[in-house]
């Protein structure tokens, strides 16, 4: 498989949110606005990229039976770094997402990619995979956040384009499920076409 294909699969063919349906907790929990979705996506991207790289580097030194605990420690370390750095340098974003950042540790995509991909493939492939999957996740969360923000708050990236209140349900948790459902349907339609 070429590196380009490896990179691009994260967007459409194997998009973590729309196709693999992994990492649903942050995908549904924080996407009430486009900015929140994007910030969460980028935080996950960083963790995914770093953990994929580290795991593929150390895979030969880790005994089979303790690989999961080792991977989890690696992932948790990067998540904590993101958490601390965000709290220090982007307090406003951290305030919005604070609750969900530690949850990246148990995000299925991160451990899933470490276990299914990075622990078997070369360093370069793992890096490209982390980047592709992370960007795919960011893309999905930003799209979901945009749809919810446009319908629910009549604004996009915090810029209001119309007066009024919007359809409130899209800001609330049920709206996340509804919006996600329609986006998956749309994605499937686009893929077939």
């Amino acid at each position: 498989m070429s590196q380009w294909k490896n990179f691009a699969k994260g967007f459409i063919k194997e998009n973590p949110v729309f196709v693999l349906l992994l990492g649903m907790c942050p995908a549904l929990g924080v996407t009430s606005t486009a900015i929140n979705g994007m910030a969460m996506g980028l935080a996950t991207l960083f963790v995914l990229l770093m953990s994929n790289m580290v795991v593929s580097l150390v895979k030969d030194f880790i005994p089979e039976k303790v690989r999961i605990p080792s991977f989890i420690v690696v992932i948790a370390t990067f998540v904590t770094i993101v958490d601390l750095v965000m709290a220090g340098y982007a307090p406003a974003v951290h305030e919005e997402l604070g609750l969900f950042i530690p949850l990246i540790v148990v995000n299925c995509i991160v451990l899933g990619r470490a276990e299914a991909f990075a622990s078997r493939k070369s360093f370069l492939s793992s890096m490209v995979d982390g980047l592709g999957m992370g960007l795919g996740f960011t893309f999905a969360l930003t799209l979901l956040g945009s749809v919810r923000e446009v319908l629910g708050s009549l604004s996009l990236f915090g810029v209001k384009f119309m007066e009024g209140d919007g359809i409130l349900v899209f800001i609330l948790p049920p709206g996340a499920f509804i919006a996600l459902g329609y986006l998956i349907a749309l994605m499937n339609k686009l893929k077939k076409a």
Binding site: E64, V66, V73, L84
Partner: protein, 192 residues
């Protein structure tokens, strides 16, 4: 290179090294970000104080004192703002657990003659688009220049004078309750 075998010593050694490296890295990052995090917290507090009291020339954060807030409640933090040694207002960090999604923290500014000057929302987890509107001037500003002895600080639904946010009565009620707590505490022993 072949995979390492899963022998007892191999596994213990591997996990030990992995955790050692991880904790060292984390300790380093923690030290690095400690100061910026503290600064960000302080800046936020100062901004909230600035928002609710008139101009001052002392250090309200250094002069902070705590006042007990009644049974089973955490004491509130009072930040006195003084100009030329004279008290011009007090910023009270008040809270309530009755929000739609738990804790709400407000900074209430009270003048020495017990008039509410302004209120800033410090922390909350209310529903985006509904309860979050309590930070909007449309709701918040009805508390400005209120004399708590003249008005009933409850939402209209409860027989008070506060116009609640549409579809966010619980958040509005909690906001009013936290404000009331600040005032009660101030009256009971806030002036120092």
């Amino acid at each position: 290179m072949a995979k390492k075998e899963s022998t007892f010593t191999n596994m213990v050694a591997t996990l030990f090294i992995v955790t050692l490296v991880a904790s060292t890295a984390l300790a380093y990052v923690y030290e690095l970000t400690k100061e910026p995090i503290e600064m960000a917290k302080l800046a936020k507090k100062l901004k909230a104080i600035d928002d609710v009291v008139p101009e001052y020339d002392n250090q309200p954060v250094d002069d902070m004192y705590k006042v007990a807030a009644g049974d089973g409640m955490d004491s509130l933090e009072f930040y006195p703002a003084k100009k030329d040694g004279k008290l011009v207002g007090t910023a009270i960090r008040t809270y309530t657990n009755t929000g739609y999604n738990g804790l709400i923290i407000l900074m209430v500014g009270i003048s020495p003659d017990e008039i509410i000057k302004n209120i800033a929302v410090v922390e909350h987890k209310e529903t985006p688009g509904l309860g979050t509107k309590m930070a909007d001037p449309k709701f918040k500003d009805q508390f400005k220049e209120l004399d708590p002895s003249q008005v009933d600080l409850r939402v209209e639904k409860d027989g008070g004078d506060i116009d609640a946010i549409t579809a966010a009565t619980i958040s509005s009620r909690a906001f009013a309750k936290a404000t009331q707590l600040a005032i009660d505490t101030y009256k009971e022993g806030g002036t120092k």
